[in-house]
């Protein structure tokens, strides 16, 4: 038996550095958006069907429980968008050192935080 086989690490026992948490959240937001595409396609379909269904979907996306789904999806989109841009910037070789990676991760949280608040204003104000 080869003793040098790769080991499956127990992820639940790790203490993750901040940029790693930003990265896993990027993945979670991506999965949310994948599932959320169902809602987005439903909304697009209803919005284009008739004036009545346009008004109905607009109402259900901006009031009650539906408004939280709208805000949630916009938040996931904002976060995934900003964290994705960090990826593209890192592809250019920027933000790969410990210090700059931590700054980049902080920027992702701050900028997406602002966008998430603005998304809430958009949905409810």
């Amino acid at each position: 038996m080869n003793e040098n086989r790769p080991v499956n690490l127990d992820l639940s026992k790790f203490s993750f550095p901040f940029p790693a948490l930003v990265s896993i959240t990027h993945r979670i937001a991506g999965v949310i958006l994948f599932v959320g595409t169902i809602f987005l396609l439903c909304a697009l379909q209803d919005s284009l069907e008739s004036a009545e269904s346009f008004a109905a979907i607009k109402n259900s996306m901006t009031t009650g429980f539906g408004s939280f789904i709208t805000w949630g999806l916009l938040s996931a989109l904002a976060y995934h968008f900003v964290a994705g841009i960090k990826h593209l910037v890192m592809d250019l070789g920027i933000g790969e050192e410990l210090k700059s990676a931590q700054i980049a991760a902080s920027l992702v949280v701050i900028i997406s935080g602002v966008l998430i608040v603005l998304a809430g204003v958009w949905v409810w104000a």
């Binding site: 958006l33 595409t37 396609l41 919005s47 284009l48 004036a51």
Partner: protein, 115 residues
Amino acid sequence: MGVSITNFSRSGLSDWLIQRFTAVVMALYTVFIVGYILSTPGLDYSQWKEFFECTGVRIFTLLALISVVAHAWIGMWIISTDYIKPAVLRFAFQATCFLTMFVFLVWGIDIIWGL
């Protein structure tokens, strides 16, 4: 097992490129749609429908939809190979994702071009 599990494009480099290209397409589309909605106060059904009747908007929307499907496939594939160890479960997960994305694509084309 020494089998290399290939994915969407059968090459990691090509996956990497597709993931970036589709990301840029979706980012531009997001800015485009959000920009349109924000710059059209009191947007009503007739304006919205007219907007989506433009061939350019339809083509851009279809390009964005194809990007969503390709991007999500690569992303979900990576997630499945990272976190789902039992092969049967992983395969079932990937198959479910694939079917879902196929439905998204056909459904989306119907919405965009079936107006």
